[in-house]
Symmetry: C2
Subunit: 207 residues, 2 copies
């Protein structure tokens, strides 16, 4: 199972600092949606230039203009982009078209989709490489939130998936047991006093 | 009925040129989602600085981190932000909280939502100012697309709404007759040989 670091920060400088600290311990560096909206795609270019050996994911959460948004992110240096599962099929297919052109990949983010397992199968049939079983920051802040339903949806979907929704070193074993290809951690790394040590601890929890 | 110009372009320079040409004829200048992702929120700041008398809408299409994304866009100069109707209620409520703090507004974009009229009522109850009955660029490119279902949904929702989905000078009368508060035009203006003349023609079609 690979480890993806979701950098939920707002400036390119901060993203570069986080990436430098965590990179030795993670496989995929994700630029969060607020970061991309705040700083623009030049943030993607900067992170990829600093870490050419890492997979860089631009969390675009595209809802429309799938081919265009994917195209500009790949041109800026992204290796993977996200499209929303609630987007129309033509939007997802457009992003896949851009990915094929560039030899890169598309992840469908299932945040906000009720039937995550069902939609997962549909979007993989459209050519998507991976789905993200994802509960957002706002959903995680709700009462009684746990990862359980995401892990269940992933295990039952029967397609390659990642899990994002407050993954910690404590929950990594359950994420791995669900069959996830990628565990996505954000706050557990960037919110730690020592970002590098927190990333290393998550890595060490993967068996 | 007000006229909103959706600037679907990719650079701040291009947005400033479009805005300068169209501003005398439109009420609201919208920075499209790909523009914000490409250039960052500095594009919003630049357009607002050049047109302080216009309402500036940042088409964030927020799906998560509602309060944070709205906050940074308002701080950058936006008067209105969009949140997706497919976002969770807590995300929409977070954006409304930021809007109240800044004395600004939130528009919920109903792109991709099946029961647009039903969701419209729900989000207005959450404090949203306006909903956008919206068919995206990818949906418009499909066979047999027309504005009709958007106009029907708007008229039946019973809440303040805008209409976006390929509005032209030819369809403006039907949009106005549906009861829309705002007509959103993009390609009909930015795709015209004379951007200012196209905006003026749309304005003239509003009675």
């Amino acid at each position: 199972m690979k480890l993806q670091f979701a950098m939920d920060t707002l400036s390119t400088e901060s993203a570069l600092e986080l990436a430098a600290a965590a990179a030795p311990h993670v496989d995929i560096l994700e630029l969060g949606t607020p970061l991309i909206k705040s700083a623009g795609l030049s943030a993607v270019t900067a992170v990829k230039a600093a870490h050419p050996d890492k997979v860089v994911l631009a969390d675009l959460k595209t809802m429309d203009a799938g081919e265009l948004e994917a195209e500009i992110a790949f041109a800026a240096g992204a290796d993977l982009v996200t499209v929303l599962g609630s987007a129309g099929d033509s939007t997802i297919a457009g992003a896949v078209k851009a990915a094929r052109k560039h030899g890169k990949g598309v992840v469908v983010d299932l945040i906000g989709v009720h039937d995550k397992a069902g939609r997962a199968k549909e979007v993989v049939a459209l050519g998507v490489d991976l789905v993200e079983m994802h509960a957002g920051l706002d959903e995680q802040a709700g009462d009684g939130y746990t990862l359980d339903s995401l892990l269940h949806d992933g295990a039952s979907a029967g397609v390659p998936f990642s899990v994002a929704g407050g993954v910690t070193a404590g929950t990594i074993p359950a994420v791995q047991q669900s069959g996830a290809r990628i565990a996505v951690a954000g706050g557990a790394i960037y919110g730690a006093p020592d970002v590098g040590a927190a990333a290393a601890a998550l890595r060490a929890a993967i068996v």
